[in-house]
């Protein structure tokens, strides 16, 4: 990673890295360190004194059934969002990969939702599926479904998953299309000459060759479901009804800032950090190697 041709200077390189280093140290390392320290401390109810409590905050956290539920819920949301969004996006990408007229137009019309912010996604979907005034709720009711995500936790969860998956379609579509276009035509032609029908060609040739893309997108979608759903949840359900849409990030937010439980919030932050580091590690280890089977 080193150039052969370089400049000699004693001070200039430090001056050049200084701004970024300063920002990273002040706004990244310092708060991360604070979170770790805070997670070992316990503050009394009035914030007057703090005591060092070793791993008490963590022990308490993992004994708390609400936290356990939030972990399971976050994983379930991630899984549901990733699978539904990926499969729909793959279908669209396979269609758009065909030599059709107007493919560029299709691509443009499918990628723009990437730019819609999570809170706006939340507002759009809660409006359509609002129990009393949503345009789609009317049809659900005529179908005999007692639709009220403000009261029914499962329906609220379904709504979050639907909205979050909708937003992610465009991103997945774009990467699937790029992945499909990088598959050499000659391989597909060879399979066609061997007499493989289109469906069979897809499952035996295209799909395996697409596995690096699928794996990469899976990790990206899980990270997305962990963090970017915050805006969607906060505008649609605010974690409710009850705690049925509280994810890990939402819990850090509500426990630390609304509930004032700093030690627990910090411990939660540290647990989240570890999870993200593991996910990123998996991504680097496998995606960099370009998984092909």
């Amino acid at each position: 990673m080193q150039k052969q041709a370089i400049f000699q200077s004693k001070l200039l390189p430090y001056a050049l890295v200084a701004p970024q280093l300063a920002i990273v140290l002040i706004f990244f390392y310092w708060p991360a360190l604070q979170a770790v320290i805070q997670s070992f401390l316990l503050q009394d109810a009035f914030g007057l004194s703090t005591t060092f409590v070793w791993f008490d905050n963590y022990v308490e956290l993992f004994r708390d059934p609400a936290y356990f539920e939030a972990i399971l819920r976050t994983f379930f949301f991630s899984f549901a969002i990733a699978v539904s969004s990926l499969s729909f996006a793959l279908l669209l990408a396979v269609m758009a990969d065909k030599p059709l007229r107007g493919v560029m137009l299709y691509r443009t019309l499918l990628i723009w939702p990437y730019a819609v912010a999570p809170p706006v996604v939340g507002v759009l979907w809660i409006f359509m599926l609002h129990p009393s005034l949503g345009v789609l709720s009317r049809y659900l009711r005529t179908l005999g479904i007692d639709w009220n995500p403000m009261l029914d936790g499962d329906q609220a969860a379904a709504l979050i998953i639907l909205a979050a998956a909708w937003k992610q379609i465009s991103y997945n579509f774009l990467f699937f299309l790029a992945g499909l276009q990088s598959i050499p035509r000659s391989v597909l032609e060879a399979a066609a000459i061997d007499g493989a029908r289109p469906m069979r060609r897809f499952w035996t040739v295209t799909f395996p060759l697409l596995s690096p893309t699928i794996f990469f997108l899976l990790v990206v979608n899980i990270v997305y479901a962990f963090f970017d759903t915050f805006g969607i949840i906060d505008t649609m359900t605010r974690g409710g009804p009850g705690t049925s849409t509280v994810t890990l990030v939402y819990k850090v937010y509500s426990d630390g800032l609304l509930g004032g439980n700093l030690g627990s919030s910090a411990a939660q932050s540290v647990v989240l950090m570890i999870m993200v580091i593991v996910l990123t590690g998996i991504q680097f280890r496998f995606v960099e190697r370009k998984v092909t089977y």
Binding site: L16, I26, M128, S137, V276
Partner: protein, 282 residues
């Protein structure tokens, strides 16, 4: 060419149009709702066709704001979002390109430790360290300021890695040539490297602008004054009051206005957008 019968093509077109309809429907509803009367919407009588209140709704949204919940003109919120998004995009590109330059073109003590310090920030989004970051920004008296809104979001390594990767592909002969011409490190950076990086910078700018404009959790925490709200925070506050009081046409007009700049950027600068997206993910 692999054979593609007419029927299959027809099916592909149909599936793609269904996909486009699913993707566009929520936005269509938002646009329609932003042109209608609030009483009709609140009764659940919303029409699926545009109404006649376009101008008055958008005028009120941009210049006046809601009458109940936030009372802040959305025009002002958009200005805040714009300043924040530009500060994040420009700031990140500026600090990253010079630090990548130092790391690639110089050899100096602690070069690798510094690179790793920056590199590790890739892993942790602001969401996992919100509370401590909030405290630091508060201690620095940067709550309710543009600096507080943008600086913590600039602290990430994606752009640095991207420029580092790009600089590694720039042929060494260019540096030797400009050295023969008597150019020093700053001259070489300004006259040779920056012009070569133009496309990369533009692609990165497009992505960072969209990400900056769409920030939510961070601005939600550190803005307390209504006049410092970004549009994403403002729209959430508009629906906090009890349902009956929510002014839906204004909420939907705000949603449309919040989507407009980033969607415009994606559609108009599609090539740069796709390039930026693919490169920042590498």
């Amino acid at each position: 060419m692999v054979e593609e019968e007419g029927f299959r093509r027809y099916v592909a077109h149909v599936i793609l149009w269904i996909g486009i309809a699913i993707v566009a429907f929520p936005v269509y509803i938002a646009i329609v709702a932003s042109t209608q009367d609030n009483a009709l919407i609140a009764n659940g009588q919303m029409s699926l066709l545009p109404g006649g209140h376009f101008f008055e709704v958008y005028y009120q949204t941009i210049f006046v704001g809601t009458s109940g919940s936030t009372r802040e003109p959305v025009g002002n919120m958009m200005l805040n979002s714009l300043v924040m998004a530009l500060a994040i995009a420009v700031g990140k590109i500026a600090i990253s390109i010079i630090s990548a330059y130092a790391i690639v073109y110089f050899r100096f003590p602690f070069r690798m430790p510094i690179f790793w310090l920056i590199f590790i920030t890739l892993m942790l989004p602001v969401e996992v360290r919100i509370y401590p970051t909030y405290k630091i920004v508060a201690d620095l008296h940067m709550l309710d300021s543009y600096a507080g809104l943008s600086l913590p979001l600039i602290a990430s390594a994606t752009a640095t890695l991207l420029f580092r990767q790009f600089f590694m592909t720039v042929p060494d002969e260019l540096l030797e040539a400009s050295r023969i011409d008597g150019a020093g490190p700053l001259r070489f950076f300004w006259d040779t490297l920056l012009p070569l990086s133009r496309t990369n910078m533009a692609a990165l700018f497009v992505i960072l602008f969209i990400l900056g404009w769409n920030q939510y959790l961070w601005p939600l925490l550190i803005t307390t004054r209504d006049d410092m709200q970004t549009i994403q925070v403002g729209i959430r506050k508009m629906i906090t009051t009890t349902d009956a009081l929510t002014e839906w046409p204004i909420v939907m007009a705000t949603a449309v206005l919040a989507m407009l700049p980033p969607v415009f950027v994606v559609v108009v600068m599609q090539k740069l957008f796709v390039r930026g997206l693919v490169e920042t993910e590498k």
